[in-house]
């Protein structure tokens, strides 16, 4: 519908559920891991057998507080848990232990970049709760099957303010959130395993309008790009309704990413009455100030901050800075290498993001598992910058650095990769090549000077990669004058 984008403004708030990567579940000692055989990672507690009681995992509180600090939240020192009551086969106690009026963390914000511009989205709250099990459907079964393995997997729910104004912003926010979760080590961020899921709240209003219209909550949004599609679809649906003079109802809809549309689940009149009340099986959660400040001190520099700093301090382009910052290991490696002052940070970045990453992937190796150190890489890059080795030779050195344990210098001399700049030696190579390349020489002389590259390549080949291409090129040009 043309023109509607100019007329209406999209208001989005996101509720993100992230599974925490603790060893055990939130209220029992069952292993917290994905992919086990059905109903093999459950006990009497997480399946809600009569008489059982929950005990809260200390790591869950710690991870949630760390995420809260990363999102600039106020940490509530004294909190509690509440029961959210509803019947569903994947919820064995028929209530979810969650937090209602006093979340562990609240009133924070996150900064991130959208098209190079800084955006800030408010974080309303972060609370802890338990995940539910899974229903499996299949034609061959007499009904739906229930697998309780996921019951009691710890979750944090991160609720944003309705500060997001486009699907693009929503996607950038989600990506930032995921990056931080992974960075802090509080979640593995594996979307395909459902480690991060989100509910999307959308409303639209006329540009310039004060206050908000009814919002629609969309469930079953499983990917970040799906979230963007769901937002655009819903915004268009709501603007169309408003154009037709109808009001948008406060309702919950289910997003179908395959069909690219959503359907009504329930309207406000049928809203669930969860009958929240304080969980009587758990006592007060007290997080001391000293605990919080220790966690705060231990917090790493977050990727969004790091990216900005790399652009500022090292003059890296946004894309490269972002890629470097993505992995905590790689970022630390880069900074140590750059700090040596042996070479251009941009060159280190190029090697790290380019060939090193490529070779590591080839060797199915992590950076931390390889033999290369920041010192060795910086040494190699500086030798390249000084012309001691050619680019081609540098690739060979880089690959060898990953598993040999030798220094760049040792590899260069062992493999005889030192670049030859000695004129006499190179002149004889050039002469030999020119003698063999009659056709190219004729072409060059007839004005097709672009065969120079071919001739330099031939010389490099004959020198086994050791010839300095700049010197070679000069000699060829002289000879053919």
């Amino acid at each position: 519908m043309p023109g509607l984008n100019e007329k209406y403004e999209i208001i989005v708030g996101l509720e993100v559920h992230a599974e925490l990567s603790t060893e055990t579940k939130i209220y029992c000692a069952c292993k917290n891991s994905f992919g086990a055989e059905v109903n093999t990672q459950c006990c009497e507690i997480c399946t809600g057998l009569p008489g059982t009681l929950p005990t809260l995992n200390e790591k869950v509180v710690e991870y949630a507080v760390r995420m809260g600090l990363a999102a600039n939240c106020k940490i509530n020192n004294i909190t509690k848990q509440d029961r959210k009551n509803y019947f569903y086969p994947d919820l064995p106690k028929a209530y979810q232990i969650s937090q209602y009026d006093v979340p562990l963390c609240q009133n924070g914000w996150l900064d991130f970049l959208v098209d190079g511009e800084e955006r800030r989205v408010g974080i309303t709250r972060i609370h802890i709760e338990e995940d539910a099990g899974k229903l499996l459907h299949g034609e061959s079964f007499s009904g739906s099957l229930v697998d309780f393995n996921r019951c009691g997997v710890p979750l944090i729910e991160i609720v944003s303010e309705p500060d997001i104004r486009s699907s693009k912003e929503a996607k950038a926010y989600l990506e930032t959130l995921k990056q931080i979760l992974v960075y802090l080590g509080v979640s593995d961020g594996k979307m395909q395993e459902g480690s991060i899921r989100c509910d999307v709240n959308v409303s639209v209003r006329l540009k310039g309008q004060e206050g908000f219209n009814n919002r629609v909550e969309m469930k079953n949004v499983n990917t970040f790009s799906g979230a963007a599609r769901a937002i655009d679809y819903e915004a268009a649906r709501q603007s169309a309704l408003m154009e037709a003079g109808e009001t948008v109802g406060q309702e919950t809809r289910r997003w179908d990413d395959v069909k690219g549309e959503n359907i009504l689940l329930r309207s406000k009149e049928n809203a669930m009455d969860y009958r929240y009340f304080p969980e009587p099986d758990l006592k007060t959660i007290v997080v001391d100030d000293s605990f919080v400040s220790a966690l705060k001190e231990g917090l790493p520099e977050l990727p969004n901050r790091k990216t900005a700093r790399y652009m500022r301090e090292y003059g890296l382009p946004a894309y490269d800075a972002g890629l470097l910052a993505e992995s905590m290991d790689r970022a630390a490696f880069f900074e140590r290498a750059a700090a040596l002052g042996l070479c251009q940070p941009k060159n280190i970045s190029n090697w790290l993001l380019g060939d090193i990453t490529y070779f590591l992937r080839e060797k199915k190796m992590e950076l931390s598992e390889s033999a290369v150190t920041p010192e060795k890489l910086a040494d190699m890059v500086s030798r390249l910058e000084k012309g001691e080795i050619s680019g081609a030779a540098a690739k060979i050195v880089a690959e060898a650095l990953l598993d040999s344990g030798l220094s760049a210098g040792e590899i260069i001399s062992e493999k005889g990769l030192a670049q030859v700049s000695d004129r006499d030696a190179l002149e004889s190579i050039v002469d030999a090549v020119l003698a063999d390349s009659e056709k190219a020489v004729i072409q060059y002389k007839s004005g097709k000077t672009n065969v120079l590259g071919f001739l330099v390549g031939q010389c490099m080949k004959r020198s086994k990669g050791k010839g300095n291409p700049a010197v070679l090129s000069g000699i060829i040009a002289e000879r053919l004058k």
């Binding site: 009569p50 059982t52 064995p92 009455d273 099986d281």
Partner: protein, 486 residues
């Protein structure tokens, strides 16, 4: 005198002296169950083989010269809302009629490590909701003092069995009086300990913030012995309290009545209390006074509100706790249904009795949107008020003495028609749960019909030692109480 007639402390001494074996003690109890159970109907399951096996292993340990805990070889009955691994745990409900837990409650683990033979699972009001044991889906337990009358509830099976000599000891649970009131009706000592002093892990929850496992015994000393076994912090129960728990029986005779300051709250002796009950409790108080206790009249003005606050909080929690019985994971599932919701509704409607349904719905109502402030939150505030009044009462009294129940045991069917009348029999006991305090019933006489009258001692948090000592001392003043004649 038959073995089943002795107290646990006496049996323990006889066993240790080699005068009788654990197997003989257990067989005597089993024989008594055989003869008395027809009239009493206290058991839902008798676990004869298990009990004899434990007894024999206690005997073996004894003859091998191993040191055994004080209650080794002394049999016990367990209220059927406490989970026992591999043994039916029904909560006297159709909905859990076939439920066999795959785990033991923490108290059961303790009972087992003490080599106490478990004789079986005792009847109760369905899910511990009731004051007469008449809400059991399976059977109606009778009062040994008069089998036309109720044993009280909800732990009616425990109280009746102890009184009938079927078991010397029993574990029950008390949410609003479910140990003390039946103990009162059946002439037992019943201790509802401080909230948090005994692990609730494995106790099928009725109202989690009020439920507490406690003990039935013939004497205060027996109660002290059993309480010493079950109390303590449990890693599996976040609400259980870490602290030093003494051996409550070791020093039980060391009590100086002259140092006792006993508070008598006038609100517990009002017109709702039967005249004979009042006189009997006053007489017991007088006896303590003659022995040097200082008696102080005190006031707990919010007592009137306790019953209302209790029902709101208890039902709210129950509505949530009992939602898990949905025909999916365990228990009863309706034979026919159209779809998931229909399956839920039919299974629950057919599986729960009326009283349980009534409380679930009341609980859902007080928590529902628009009502939670007027009801649930207000009840919680009233709870705070009541707790505060108790705290200030305990500044001037070491313990508080009240009747345990307004009347003695009533007739079967007498109060089933009117829930409010039934609820009123808990009027003296609910305050104690509301404030999380320990409360103890000690029999203080019989009424004109020969039915036991109970006196309640209430103390500050974790004052079980004083309650047990005072009750033990009072028993020595009172003398033997006539036993139930079957």
């Amino acid at each position: 005198m038959e073995l089943y007639e002795y107290t646990a402390a006496e049996l323990s001494a006889m066993f240790r002296a080699g005068e009788c074996s654990a197997e003989e003690i257990t067989r005597s109890a089993l024989d008594r169950i055989n003869t008395a159970e027809d009239k009493i109907q206290a058991f839902l399951t008798v676990t004869e083989e298990n009990a004899l096996e434990t007894a024999k292993s206690a005997d073996k340990k004894f003859s091998a010269g191993e040191t055994l805990p004080p209650l080794a070889g002394i049999p016990i009955g367990i209220k059927d809302n406490i989970c026992t691994n591999g043994i039916l745990t029904t909560c006297a409900s159709k909905i859990l009629g076939n439920f066999i837990p795959p785990y033991d409650a923490t108290v059961i683990k303790k009972i087992k490590t003490h080599y106490m033979p478990i004789l079986g699972k005792m009847n109760l009001d369905e899910f511990a909701m009731g004051s007469s044991c008449e809400n059991s889906y399976f059977k109606k337990t009778r009062n040994p003092y008069d089998t036309e009358r109720v044993p009280g509830g909800s732990s009616g099976g425990c109280a009746a069995a102890v009184s009938a000599g079927e078991v010397p000891l029993a574990l029950g649970s008390d949410t609003g009086g479910s140990i003390r009131q039946p103990a009162s009706y059946c002439g037992n000592v019943g201790l509802k300990p401080t909230y948090g002093s005994v692990s609730r892990y494995g106790l099928v929850a009725f109202a989690s913030s009020l439920d507490q496992i406690g003990v039935f015994a013939k004497t205060a000393e027996d109660a002290a012995l059993l309480y010493s076994v079950i109390c303590g912090k449990d890693e599996k129960d976040a609400t259980s309290v870490r602290r030093e728990y003494p051996d409550f029986a070791a020093d039980i005779s060391n009590f100086d009545c002259k140092k006792l300051r006993a508070g008598v709250p006038k609100e517990y002796f009002g017109p709702g209390i039967d005249g004979e009950v009042r006189d009997s409790v006053y007489k017991a108080i007088e006896l303590l006074k003659e022995n040097g206790a200082e008696i102080r009249e005190i006031s707990l003005p919010s007592t009137d509100y306790a019953l209302s606050a209790y029902y709101i909080i208890a039902c709210a929690e129950a509505s949530s706790n009992l939602a898990r019985f949905d025909g999916v994971k365990y228990g009863y599932r309706s034979e026919k249904f159209e779809n998931l919701i229909d399956m839920y509704e039919r299974s629950r409607s057919e599986g729960f009795g009326d009283e349980v349904k009534r409380r679930i719905m009341l609980g859902a109502f007080v928590l529902s949107s628009g009502y939670i402030d007027a009801y649930y939150n207000k009840a919680k505030a009233t709870q705070a008020l009541i707790s505060r009044e108790f705290a200030s009462a305990f500044e001037q009294a070491d313990l508080i003495i009240t009747p345990t129940s307004p009347t003695t045991a009533f007739k079967l069917g007498e109060k089933t028609a009117d829930p409010l009348q039934m609820y009123a029999s808990d009027i003296c006991t609910v305050t104690v749960n509301i404030a999380g305090l320990p409360g103890l019933n000690v029999p203080c006489g019989l009424d004109g019909k020969g039915l036991p009258i109970g006196m309640q001692f209430v103390g500050p948090h974790f004052s079980e030692e004083i309650l047990l000592k005072a009750a033990h001392f009072y028993e020595s003043l009172r003398g033997e109480l006539p036993r139930a004649l079957l």
